[in-house]
Amino acid sequence: MTEITTEKARIGAPSAQPFINGFTEEGESLSPINAAASKAPLAGEAVKRHSHGGGVGVPDSSRAGRLTSYKLADFKPLTGLEEDWRFTPLKRLRGLHSEVLKGAAPSVTVSGPEQVTVETVSRDDKRIGSAGIPEDRVSANAWENFSEATVLTIPAEFEAGTEINVVITGQDTVAAAQHLVIVAQKFSKSVVVLDHQGSAVVSENIEIVVEDGADLTVVSLQEWNDDAVHASSQQAKIGRDAKLKHVVVSLGGDLVRVTPSARFTAPGGEAEMLGLYFADAGQHLEQRLFVDHAVANCTSNVLYKGALQGRNAHAVWVGDVLIRKEAEGTDSYEANRNLLLTDGARADSVPNLEIETGLIKGAGHASATGRLDDEHLFYLMARGIPEDVARRLVVRGFLHEIIQQIKVPALEERLTDAVERELAVTNN
C-alpha cells in the first residue's frame, strides 16, 4: 500500500504538560481547558429529562461540548453543514432525520444460552436510558419514536459458552425506529452478535451496559440488502475493571452510519473497538466513534480497516478520543486504514485526539489511506501468481487483521467468506 497520508503520534509516559507539543496535525483539537470537562458522561435517571452538554463557551471542536438530549426538538434540523453530518448525503437518509419514524421496526430474534434473558419492554422501562443519550438528531428521532425495546440481560457471573445471536431483520423500507439494551451484569462473560439483514430504513439506538468486571464482546454486523439505510448509535457504559470489545462490520446497505461510543465510568476499564468495512460502488459506509476517558487508568484501542472499490464507493471514519483531566493513567491508541482498490472510490479518515491531562501512559493515532500498489502486484505476479489472485491476496491480508482479532471462530469463517464474496463481485 502506498501511504498517501499518514499521521502518527505517541505520547510518552507522565509529563506534567497541560498540552502536548508537536500536535499540529489537521483534525487535532487539544483544548487545555474545557468548560465541560468535569461533567460525567452520563448521569443516569436525571439526564432523561434534561438536555445537557453544549452550553455557551464550549468550543464546537471539543467532543465534550456536543449537545446530547433525549428530545428531538433540542436538535436543529440538519443542513449537512454540521461537523458530524458533513460527509453524509442527507438526501439518502430517506427521512430518518426529518420524518416521524412510524414504520415497523425490524424484527428481533434472539438465540443463545437459556440463562440469557430476552425481554420486550415498553418505553418506560427503567433500563432505557441507562447507557445512552442521543448525540444527534437521527438518534433522537429514534428515541422519540420507538414503541418498544428489546432488553438482553447476561446474568451476573454467567459465562456464555456460545454466542448470543440477535438477528435483526428488516421487512420493508418505511422509516422506522429501533431500540435495544444489552446488559452484561457483573463478572459475566459473553459474545453478542447483532446480525442486521434484510431491507430497512431504520434509526437504531443500542445501549450497552458493561457492569463491573464483566467481559462483553458486541459484534454489529451490517449485511443489509442494497436498498437499506441504517443509522445506529451504539453507546456503551463501561464499569470498573470491565472489558468491552466492540466490532463493527459494515458490508451491505446503501447508507450505513454507525456511531459507537465507549464511556468509562470507573477505573480499570478496557475498550477494544474494531471495525471492518468494504464499500462497493455507490455505497456510503460511515463510522464515527467516540471514546470518552472520563476516569483514571482505563485503556482503549481502536482499529478500523476498510477496502473500497467502484465508482462513488465512499467510506468515512471519524475517531474522537477524549482524555479528560481526570483520566490520568490512560492508555489509548486509535488507527484507521483504508485501501482504495479502484479509482472513483473515496475514503475520509479523521482522527481526533483531545488530551486534557499530561499524566497518561500513552495516546496516539494513525490514519492512512492507500492504493493497491502496482509494485506489490508486480512483485507477486513476478512469482507466478495471477493478477486476480494477487489482488485478493493483498486485500484479504489487509482485512484479515481485523477478522483475526474478533476471536469468534464461527464469525471468522463467515466474515472471511463475506470478504471473498465482496472481492468476487467486481472485475477484480
Binding site: 500498489d373 508486480f378 512483485y379 513476478a382 512469482r383 507466478g384 501468481i385 489472485v389 486485500v395 491480508g397
Partner: protein, 261 residues
Amino acid sequence: MSTLEIKDLHVSIDTEQGTKEILKGVSLTIKTGQTHAIMGPNGSGKSTLASTIAGHPRYNVTSGTITLDGEDVLAMSVDERARAGLFLAMQYPVEVPGVSMTNFLRTAKTAIDGEAPKLRTWTKEVKDAMAQLRIDADFAQRNVNEGFSGGEKKRVEILQLELFKPKFAILDETDSGLDVDALKVVSEGVNRAHETGNMGTLLITHYTRILRYIKPDFVHVFVDGQVVEEGGPELADRLEEEGYDRYATGAGAATIAASQA
C-alpha cells in the same frame, strides 16, 4: 537444456520529459548451466534489462525479441513469464503488507507448479532452505519483506530462487548491501541452485566482489544501454583493476570505478 535468447533489444521508458531510450540494442544468449555476469556503471541500464525480461509494465520494448526455448517471452504476462521458468531476484524487493511469507510462498509455488505442494514436505523444504540461508524461522509468519533489512530482503529473494527452481535466474545486484558473511551465504544459495544443473544465471552486478563466490562463465560489460565488451572470467579481473573508465563514450557515459571490493 533451455535457452534464453535476447536479440537486439531496444527499450524505452516514458518520463515527464518524454520518451527516453535506455537499452540500445542488447543481444545475449544464456543456456542452462551457464552463468553470465553483466557488469556496468550506475545508470547503464542493467536493472532495465532485468525488469524488461520479467515484464515490468514501465518498460516499453520498441524493437527486438526475447525468447525462452523459442517461445515469445514478450507476449507473456508477468505471471506467465514466471510460470514459464523466469525468476528475477530484485534489486529493491518491495514490502507487501498483509500477506505472510508462508502464504505467499505457498501461493507462488502452487501457481508455478500448477498444483499445491504437499504440505508436509513443503513445510520442511521451506524450513530447511531458510536455515541454510540463515533466515530466522519467525520470518515465515511475517509479511512479505515487511520490515526486513536490506540484507534480509536479499536472502529472501534467494530463498525463493531455491524454492521455485526456475529455468533462468536473473539476479539484479543481489550482492549490494550485503556484508561479507551474508554475501557468502547468499552466494552459496545461488551455487546450490546452480548445481542442480537445471538453471542458467544472469548475474547483474556493479562490483566484482561477488564473482569471487559465484564464478561466471561469461562477462558482459554494459555501458549506456549496450554491451560494449564481452569475455571470460578474466574480463572481470581486468575491470577490478581498471574500472569502467576506458569505456567512456563521451559526455553521457558513466565514469564510476568498478572495484570497491
